[in-house]
């Protein structure tokens, strides 16, 4: 990774943390329904995303990959719109190689394999990077997707973000396997384990996986071992299932602090630069929030959008009724 890239990474990590803080605040204020922070997983998500080319490669996310999606071309305003309930404004813009955020655990894995297969058939190059957690690796979808990915030898990078908790299920209750990446052998390919809080290691391992896929070498799972420092989402209370001591220990290994120390030591970052960056970040977040708030609130008609290309008669009638019902008395 070049020193410029290290600075880019650090900026993305700071943006990610600040977006987390703002969306949590907005949830507590009732402006966001529910939100799950990236907190603690920034190196795993950003390090891997930086090995991808947004002009060529696809990202298939789960629901904790915000900084990767932003880097790949999703406008910050669109991300805020997702959580503030305006699905039209949240849509991935044309030309951005991103599938939308996806909540159904593991369901994005078969989609990612299909997408990678299409990329291979088209022959125009590029890889698909799919993100999922250790919880998703217990789902049937993971196994079906992995097997097919191996058989069809698709250009797929499988980023297994092992953050040690699937909501309240700790990883030692999730599986008896010592290593999740080792499952690759069962599907005919090879997986790697990496310190998910070491952004440089995640980047290097992902670059290898991308190159392997581009050269026709098929899928590579990368198990990024990290820790979910925050709650699962705003409806969750981790105090009910894990110790303060464990979280404190994780804070000692905060991936942002780790990269910050490295960047300062290399002479490419300083407290002043960080302060300036935080001001810019805050301004960008304020702007994104304001832009979404300024949009007309979606009305009754919005629920009938994106259901069919053309609404069938029964639904046209329902839409008319819904608009009528929405009128004040």
């Amino acid at each position: 990774m070049s020193l410029d890239q290290v600075v880019e990474a650090l900026r993305l990590m700071l943006l990610s943390r600040a977006v987390d803080d703002r969306l949590i605040k907005l949830q507590r204020m009732g402006k966001v329904g529910v939100y799950g922070p990236v907190h603690g997983q920034e190196a795993a998500v950003i390090g891997s995303a930086m090995a991808l080319d947004p002009q060529r490669d696809w990202i298939v996310p789960a629901s904790r990959e915000h900084p990767a999606m932003l880097r790949h071309g999703l406008p910050l305003k669109n991300m805020f719109a997702t959580y503030m309930g305006n699905f039209d404004a949240a849509a991935v813009p044309d030309g951005v190689r991103l599938l939308p955020r996806q909540q159904s655990i593991g369901a994005q894995l078969p989609h990612a394999v299909g997408l990678a297969w299409a990329v291979k058939l088209r022959g125009t190059g590029g890889v698909v990077a799919v993100y999922f957690g250790e919880g998703a690796s217990s789902e049937g979808d993971f196994h079906e997707a992995s097997n097919l990915a191996g058989v069809m030898r698709v250009p797929l990078v499988m980023l297994l973000i092992n953050n040690h908790y699937a909501i309240s299920t700790p990883v030692h209750r999730q599986t008896a396997a010592a290593e999740l990446a080792a499952r690759a052998e069962g599907y005919g390919f090879r997986g790697f384990v990496v310190d998910g809080n070491d952004l440089l290691a995640v980047y290097a391992t992902t670059v290898d996986a991308v190159n392997r896929a581009l050269a026709g070498g098929g899928p590579t799972p990368i198990e990024c071992r990290t820790y979910r420092m925050g709650f699962h989402n705003t409806s969750d209370n981790p105090k009910e299932y894990r110790d303060r001591a464990e979280v404190d220990a994780a804070e000692q290994r905060d991936p942002i602090e780790r990269l910050r120390r490295y960047a300062i030591r290399e002479g490419i970052w300083s407290a002043d630069q960080e302060a300036a960056e935080l001001v810019e970040i805050r301004s960008a977040i304020d702007t994104a929030q304001r832009q979404v708030e300024a949009l007309p609130r979606p009305g009754a008609a919005a629920i009938f959008e994106h259901v069919y290309e053309t609404l069938p008669p029964r639904l046209q009638q329902q839409k008319a009724e819904a608009l009528d019902d929405a009128r004040p008395n």
């Binding site: 329904g33 309930g85 699905f87 979606p298 629920i303 259901v307 639904l315 329902q318 929405a326």
Partner: protein
């Protein structure tokens, strides 16, 4: 509903929540016990202590009225009760029938409630097309056609994917929609 061999129950009140659950545990058949998440912490009610069970296949008339019966289950029962209150102020007297069990359906109880007024509105939270309300309407018209004095209306959710929370009110059945449908049925 289309899974044979399975029973389906939906409590709308705390006493039925206990009664139906105990009954479900003891029933030798597999039971789908559907709790109305929407009502957690929203409603309160007396719960009999001790071994309180509620038989399956038995509906309960939770409000008596002469002009029309609102048939519902789960969270929609409470919407119907609110609608009945509003309608009472306009001089419309509505019964509310809480089915409690969907499978096996209390056909006798349903028909008895229908025959009192000959006018019916069915309310449920699932999308309208192909919802269980259609089964109820089909059953009523087959078993009690001669008793009906108006077509049966259904008030249910729209045939779209579940929207973001901020748009739920446009999707779900509402007291306003139930009142309008009931008025139209009574005036038929």
């Amino acid at each position: 509903m289309q899974a044979p061999g399975v029973k389906i129950v939906c409590p709308a009140f705390p006493d039925d929540a206990k009664g139906l659950l105990l009954e479900a545990i003891r029933d030798p058949d597999p039971v789908l016990y559907l709790e109305p998440q929407r009502l957690y912490r929203k409603i309160r009610g007396p719960v009999p202590a001790g071994d309180h069970t509620v038989p399956f296949g038995l509906s309960r008339l939770v409000r008596e009225g002469e002009d029309v019966v609102l048939v519902a289950w789960s969270a929609a029962v409470h919407l119907c009760l609110a609608a009945a209150e509003q309608l009472a102020a306009e001089g419309v007297s509505a019964s509310v029938l809480d089915l409690r069990t969907l499978v096996p359906l209390d056909v006798a109880g349903l028909i008895a409630a229908v025959q009192k007024s000959g006018k019916v509105v069915v309310v449920h939270e699932a999308p309208v097309t192909g919802g269980f309300g259609a089964e109820i309407v089909a059953t009523i018209q087959q078993e009690a056609f001669a008793s009906l004095d108006a077509p049966i209306r259904r008030v249910a959710s729209r045939d779209t994917p579940y929207p973001p929370g901020s748009l739920e009110d446009h999707f779900l059945p509402s007291v306003r929609r139930i009142v309008a449908a009931t008025r139209a049925t009574v005036e038929y």
